[in-house]
C-alpha cells in the first residue's frame, strides 16, 4: 500500500541531464521541485575517484556505472514476425543509471542538428519532390525549426563549456569551422581541444579530397572554465577515459560538473535516490496527472503528488512509463495509428580501419570528443537525387581512447589469440587509426516500442518491447559513407584500408551506440506525435516528456546537445507560458 507524501509543485522522474536542467530552471522560478532517481547518488571525488577511475575492466568491461538488467531491461526482436526475448546483458546500447544519468559516462560530443534535419520531410519534398523518400520510411518534421532551437543550443553549450570552432556566426562563414552548420549567435565558449597527429593527418587528407574538415565540438573543457552558474571546470588532461567512465578531473561536462553543485544547495529542491517510479498517476478522466508512485530501496511504495510531472528518464524508460501509465494512445504498426512507441530509431555506423607504416599516433592521448570531422556528407548537405537513399553521416577521425583491453587493432587475417595476435597488436597499436561514419537513422512503420505480452519486470510491469532493424535506406546510406571514408584514407597514405560495412539484421549484442531515439516523438499533429513542440503531452498537458524520445528520427550526430536544448526549451515554455496558463500550449 502506497504511503502518500505531501504535494510538490513539480515531480521529476530521473536526475540526468534533462532532469537536472529542468530542476535548476524551475527552482529558479520559485517552484518546489522533487526529483526521483532510480539509481544511486554519484559524486566526483567519491564515485569517479582519480585513484581508480581509469579501471577499464571495472567500468568499461563490467559496466559498473550502468543500469543492471536485473533492475530493469527490455525485450528485443528485429521484426513483428519474431518473438521478442529479454536483454539480459546490455550490449548494443548502455543505459545510464544514478544521479547524472548517461551524462556521467558520455563522451562529450556536442553536436547541433542541421536546419534541414528539423524539417526533414518538408525539406526533402521541397528539394527533390515526394518520390525521393523511400516507401519504407516514416520521416516526419519536428514541428520546430533550427532557428527556434538556436538559443537553447547556445544555453547548453555555455553551461557545458563546450570546446569548438564556429563555422557560421550570424550567417557569416568562419574559417576553420563547419561550413554546413546552422547559423549560431556566437562562437563556442572555449576554443577547440588540442589536436593530435592522427586527426591532423585526416584533416589534411580530407582537404586534399576537397572536403571541409573542422574540429569536433567537445564538452571536454579545452581550458579552465567558469560556467554561467559559477561552477568551475578544469582543463582536460587527455587521459582517454571518457565514455563508460565518470570524469575524475572536473573536465567533462556532466550534471555533476555543471549543475548539481548549485541545484543541491537550493532549499526548494530535493532528490530521492534509489527510488524507481512505477507509474504516473492520472485522474479519473485520464487527462491530468496527479503525481507519481515510486518504490524505494526498502521496497516501500510511496505516492508523490505533484502539479506538474516531468518524465526525464532515458528514452526507453520515458516511453515505458507512458505506456504503463496509459498516457497517450499506443502505436499499432499494423494500422500505423497511435503515437506512443512510434518512430523508434537509432544510429547507423560504419567504420574504416587504417594501418600505417612508420607512424606513431600516440592514440592513448585522447578525450571522448577530440578529433577532426567533415560534414560534407551529413544530412542533406550533398545532392541525393541519384543516390538511392536519403540521410547522411558525419565522417570523422576521432579516436576516443586507446585503452588496453578493447583497443587491439589488428589487420584482417590476424589470429584472434596467441603469440601472432600479441605481436600484431604490439605492431599496430601506435600506428593504426580508424575513421567513423556516424549516420542518420530514419524511422520506419515497423520499428517501434510497445509493451511485451510475456515478460515482466521486478515490479510486475510488462517489459518494454523493442522491434527494430536497419532500414534498407540506412544500409545503403552508411555503406556509401564507408566508401567515402576509405577514399579519404587513400589520401592519408595508409598501408592498408579496411572498411567495415553495415549489414542487416541489427544485432542487439555488440556495442554500437547509446543513441536510441523516438517513441514519444514531437510534432505538430497529435495523430502522429506524442508531445507538442514544447515536449508537452497532447493527452495529459501537465506531463512533459523530455529527451531523445522526442526525436521523430535521428540525424547523423550525437543526440545530447539537441536533448539538452530541448530541455531548456521545455523549461522556457513552462516558465514563460505554462505557469501563467496551465493547459495545452498548442491547441490539439
Amino acid at each position: 500500500m502506497a504511503r502518500k507524501l505531501p504535494r510538490r509543485d513539480v515531480v521529476i522522474v530521473g536526475l540526468g541531464w534533462t532532469g537536472s536542467i529542468l530542476a535548476n530552471e524551475l527552482t529558479d522560478e520559485g517552484l518546489d521541485v522533487v526529483a526521483i532517481e532510480r539509481g544511486p547518488w554519484r559524486n566526483t571525488a567519491t564515485d569517479f575517484n582519480a585513484g581508480y577511475m581509469q579501471d577499464e575492466l571495472r567500468y568499461a568491461i563490467r559496466k559498473d556505472l550502468f543500469l543492471r538488467p536485473a533492475q530493469n531491461t527490455l525485450t528485443f526482436r528485429n521484426n513483428i514476425d519474431q518473438e521478442a526475448l529479454p536483454v539480459r546483458d546490455f550490449g548494443s546500447f548502455l543505459p545510464g543509471n544514478g544521479v547524472g544519468g548517461a551524462g556521467v559516462h558520455w563522451n562529450g560530443q556536442t553536436w547541433r542538428f542541421l536546419p534541414s534535419d528539423f524539417r526533414c520531410r518538408s525539406h526533402l519534398v521541397e528539394r527533390y519532390g515526394a518520390k525521393i523518400i523511400p516507401d519504407e520510411l516514416a520521416i516526419q518534421d519536428w514541428g520546430v525549426t533550427y532557428e527556434e532551437m538556436e538559443p537553447y543550443y547556445d544555453k547548453f553549450e555555455y553551461l557545458a563549456g563546450t570546446s569548438g570552432k564556429a563555422g557560421n556566426i550570424n550567417g557569416k562563414l568562419q574559417e576553420g569551422g563547419n561550413p554546413f552548420e546552422g547559423s549560431r549567435a556566437r562562437d563556442y565558449p572555449l576554443p577547440p581541444l588540442e589536436m593530435p597527429y592522427g586527426p591532423m593527418l585526416f584533416a589534411q587528407g580530407a582537404r586534399e579530397a576537397g572536403y571541409h574538415p573542422f574540429p569536433q565540438p567537445a564538452s571536454n573543457a579545452s581550458r579552465n572554465y567558469t560556467n554561467p552558474l559559477g561552477i568551475e571546470m578544469g582543463a582536460c588532461s587527455y587521459c582517454g577515459f571518457c565514455e563508460r567512465f565518470g570524469c575524475a578531473n572536473y573536465s567533462k561536462a556532466s550534471p555533476q560538473t555543471t549543475i548539481l553543485p548549485v541545484l543541491m544547495r537550493k532549499p526548494n529542491f530535493e532528490c530521492r535516490t534509489n527510488s524507481e517510479v512505477v507509474r504516473i498517476n492520472l485522474d479519473r478522466l485520464g487527462t491530468r496527472a496527479t503525481g507519481v508512485t515510486y518504490v524505494d530501496a526498502q521496497g516501500q511504495e510511496w505516492e508523490q503528488p505533484g502539479d506538474l510531472v516531468l518524465i526525464c528518464a532515458f528514452i526507453l524508460f520515458n516511453v515505458h512509463l507512458m505506456l504503463v501509465s496509459g498516457i497517450g494512445k499506443p502505436y499499432d504498426p499494423k494500422t500505423a495509428t497511435g503515437a506512443v512507441g512510434r518512430n523508434y530509431a537509432y544510429q547507423t555506423f560504419a567504420k574504416v580501419e587504417m594501418f600505417f607504416d612508420n607512424k606513431n599516433f600516440n592514440p592513448f592521448i585522447s578525450t571522448g570528443a577530440m578529433g577532426q570531422c567533415i560534414d560534407d556528407f551529413n544530412g542533406d548537405n550533398f545532392d541525393h537525387s541519384s543516390l538511392g537513399f536519403v540521410g547522411g553521416a558525419g565522417i570523422m577521425c576521432a579516436g576516443t581512447n586507446a585503452r588496453p583491453i578493447l583497443m587491439r587493432p589488428t589487420p584482417p587475417g590476424t589470429p584472434r589469440w596467441g603469440s601472432t595476435w600479441k605481436k600484431a597488436t604490439a605492431d599496430n597499436y601506435l600506428s593504426s587509426l580508424y575513421l567513423n561514419a556516424q549516420g542518420s537513422s530514419y524511422a520506419t512503420r515497423g520499428n517501434y516500442l510497445d509493451l511485451d505480452p510475456t515478460y515482466k519486470d521486478r515490479l510486475g510491469r510488462p517489459l518494454l518491447r523493442m522491434t527494430f532493424d536497419f532500414p534498407d535506406n540506412d544500409i545503403r546510406m552508411i555503406n556509401y559513407m564507408a566508401d567515402k571514408a576509405a577514399g579519404i584514407g587513400k589520401h592519408m597514405n595508409a598501408r592498408q584500408i579496411v572498411p567495415h560495412y553495415q549489414k542487416k539484421p541489427y544485432d542487439v549484442v555488440p556495442y554500437q551506440s547509446t543513441h536510441n531515439t523516438g517513441g514519444a516523438i514531437m510534432g505538430s499533429d497529435p495523430a502522429t506525435s506524442a508531445v507538442n513542440k514544447y515536449l508537452q503531452s497532447w493527452d495529459v498537458p501537465n506531463v512533459f516528456v523530455v529527451g531523445a524520445s522526442a526525436f521523430p528520427q535521428n540525424a547523423g550526430y550525437n543526440p545530447n546537445d539537441t536533448v539538452c536544448a530541448l530541455a531548456f526549451k521545455a523549461a522556457d515554455a513552462i516558465r514563460t507560458r505554462y505557469l501563467k496558463n496551465e493547459g495545452p500550449l498548442v491547441p490539439a
Binding site: 559524486n43 566526483t44 571525488a45 567519491t46 575517484n49 582519480a50 585513484g51 581508480y52 579552465n224 567558469t226 552558474l229 559559477g230 561552477i231 568551475e232 571546470m233 578544469g234 582543463a235 588532461s237 587521459c239 575524475a248 578531473n249 572536473y250 553543485p261 548549485v262 544547495r265
Partner: protein, 418 residues
C-alpha cells in the same frame, strides 16, 4: 563523528564600533534597548562574526541549543545551551552576568573553560556584547540540559581555572591604536576579539594558552594544522594580496586555494556572511602582521632519493589535477607551488589531506565544492612521505622532509578518532 573546530570556541562580542567603524551593520554607539530592531540585527551580525553557532549547536540539533563536543587536549567539553530557556539555557542571566561570562570567563555556575574563547572575547566591547545578548534573547527557548564539562579529573574542577587565568589570561576590552587607520583597528578588533582567529591559528603553550609573541603563526588542533596567517612570505599570507584574503573569506576560494576542514565551517557559518568593509579590515590587519622573520629553510635537493620517488608518485597520482607546474587550477585544485600549507613547518594538514582526502567548501559565490579523494588505501607511509617531501621542496618550495613515522602516526590517529 565529530566536528573539527577550534580548540576553544564560543561566542559573542562587540565593538567600539562607531569610533572606527568600517562595518556595514554598525548602528552608532550600540543602543541598549534590547527590543530595538537595530540592536537585534547588529547582535545577529556580531554573533555571526563570532561564529557562536558552530560550538553551541549539536550536529542536527537546534541552533544555539548546545551539545557540540569539543575535543581538547585535556578532554571533552560540550558547547552550552545559550538559548533564552530559563532552566537549561541562559534566560535567567542578567546582562551583567552575560558580559562577565564573555569578558571574564565567569558564568553564574562558575568558571568557564577557555574552549569558550573568553581570552579573545574579553576584547569585545560591552555594547557589542549586549547586542549579541539582545539577539540571543529573540531565539526560541529550547529546553535542552547540557552537561558541558566532560573533562577528566583534575581538569573537571572549574575553580582550577582560577590558577589558569592568573597565569594566562589578560582581561580588558580592545584599545584602538591611534597611530593606525580606522580600518586596521576594526580588523584588529575582529581578528583578536570576536573572530577569535588565534584560537586555532596561534601556537599554544603546554597549558593551552596562546604563546606570547607569535600570535597567528600557526597551530595544530584535532589533526589539522591551522596555518600561519601573518604576513610571512614563505609559510604565511605573504604571497596573498588583500583582495585574495577577502575573496577567500567571502567565497571560500581564491586563485590559490579552496578552504576545507575546520576553516570551511568557519567560512560557511561566519566569514562568508560578513560585510565587505569588515573583510577588508580583517585583510588589512592580517597583511600588517609582521612576518615571523624566519628565513626559508634550504630545500631538499632534487637528487635525494625521496625527491626522485616523490616525483614519480606525483606524476602518477597528483599531476592531472595539480599539474606539472604545481599551479593547480584556480578555485578548483589548490596551487601547491608557493603554498603556505604545503611549506608549513608542521605537515599535519598536508599528510591528512593525502590520507583522507578533503572536501572543499561551497558558498553561493563559489558553489563548485571540489573534493580530493583519499589515497590512504593506495599509498604506503613511505610513499606519502616521499611524495610530500617532493611537494614541499619542488617549484621553489622549501620545507623539512616528511618522514614515514609522521605519516604512520597521523594515519593511526585518524583511524582512532574518525
Amino acid at each position: 563523528m565529530k566536528r573539527n573546530l577550534a580548540l576553544f570556541t564560543a561566542l559573542l562580542p562587540l565593538t567600539m564600533a562607531a569610533i572606527f567603524s568600517a562595518t556595514a551593520p554598525v548602528m552608532g554607539q550600540g543602543g541598549t534597548d534590547s527590543q530595538s530592531f537595530e540592536q537585534i540585527e547588529r547582535g545577529r551580525y556580531l554573533a555571526t562574526a563570532g561564529d557562536c553557532v558552530a560550538c553551541h549547536t549539536a550536529p542536527g540539533g537546534k541552533p544555539y541549543a548546545g551539545g557540540l563536543a569539543l575535543e581538547t587536549p585535556f578532554g571533552k567539553l560540550l558547547g552550552a545551551n545559550i538559548t533564552p530557556d530559563r532552566e537549561t539555557g541562559i534566560g535567567n542571566w542578567t546582562d551583567d552576568q552575560f558580559v562577565q561570562a564573555m569578558q571574564q570567563g565567569i558564568a553564574p555556575r562558575g568558571h568557564l573553560y577557555p574552549a569558550m574563547p573568553y581570552p579573545a572575547f574579553t576584547k569585545v566591547s560591552r555594547s557589542d556584547i549586549l547586542a549579541i545578548r539582545a539577539y540571543l534573547n529573540t531565539l526560541e527557548p529550547v529546553n535542552n540540559p547540557i552537561e558541558t564539562n566532560l573533562l577528566p579529573f583534575p581538569f573537571n574542577i572549574r575553580s582550577s581555572m582560577l590558577a589558569w587565568n592568573a597565569l594566562n589570561f589578560t582581561p580588558g576590552e580592545f584599545k584602538p591604536d591611534s597611530d593606525k587607520s580606522a580600518e586596521w583597528n576594526r580588523g584588529a578588533y575582529l581578528v583578536e576579539g570576536l573572530g577569535h582567529c588565534g584560537t586555532c591559528h596561534s601556537p599554544k603553550t603546554i597549558l593551552g594558552s596562546a604563546r606570547s609573541g607569535d600570535a597567528l603563526e600557526g597551530s595544530v588542533l584535532q589533526n589539522w594544522f591551522a596555518p600561519n596567517i601573518t604576513n610571512t612570505m614563505h609559510k604565511g599570507l605573504g604571497g596573498w594580496s588583500q583582495a585574495d584574503i577577502v575573496q577567500y573569506l567571502k567565497t571560500g576560494a581564491n586563485q590559490f586555494t579552496i578552504a576545507s576542514g575546520p576553516m570551511a565551517e568557519a567560512i560557511t557559518n561566519s566569514t562568508s556572511k560578513l560585510s565587505d568593509p569588515d573583510l577588508h579590515a580583517i585583510a588589512t590587519y592580517l597583511k600588517n602582521m609582521p612576518s615571523d622573520g624566519n628565513a626559508a629553510p634550504v630545500p631538499v635537493v632534487g637528487s635525494d632519493k625521496r625527491m626522485i620517488a616523490g616525483q614519480a608518485i606525483y606524476r602518477d597520482t597528483c599531476n592531472a589535477c595539480h599539474r606539472d607546474s604545481g599551479a593547480g587550477i584556480p578555485r578548483l585544485f589548490p596551487t601547491l607551488a608557493g603554498s603556505a600549507v604545503v611549506q608549513s613547518d608542521d605537515p599535519t594538514t598536508l599528510i591528512r589531506v593525502v590520507l583522507q582526502g578533503s572536501q572543499g567548501v561551497a558558498t553561493a559565490a563559489a558553489p563548485t565544492a571540489p573534493a580530493m579523494p583519499s589515497f590512504a588505501w593506495r599509498l604506503s607511509d613511505e610513499e606519502v612521505a616521499s611524495l610530500l617531501t617532493y611537494v614541499r621542496n619542488n617549484w621553489g618550495n622549501a620545507a623539512a622532509p616528511v618522514t614515514a613515522a609522521d605519516v604512520k602516526a597521523l594515519r593511526q590517529s585518524l583511524t582512532n578518532t574518525d
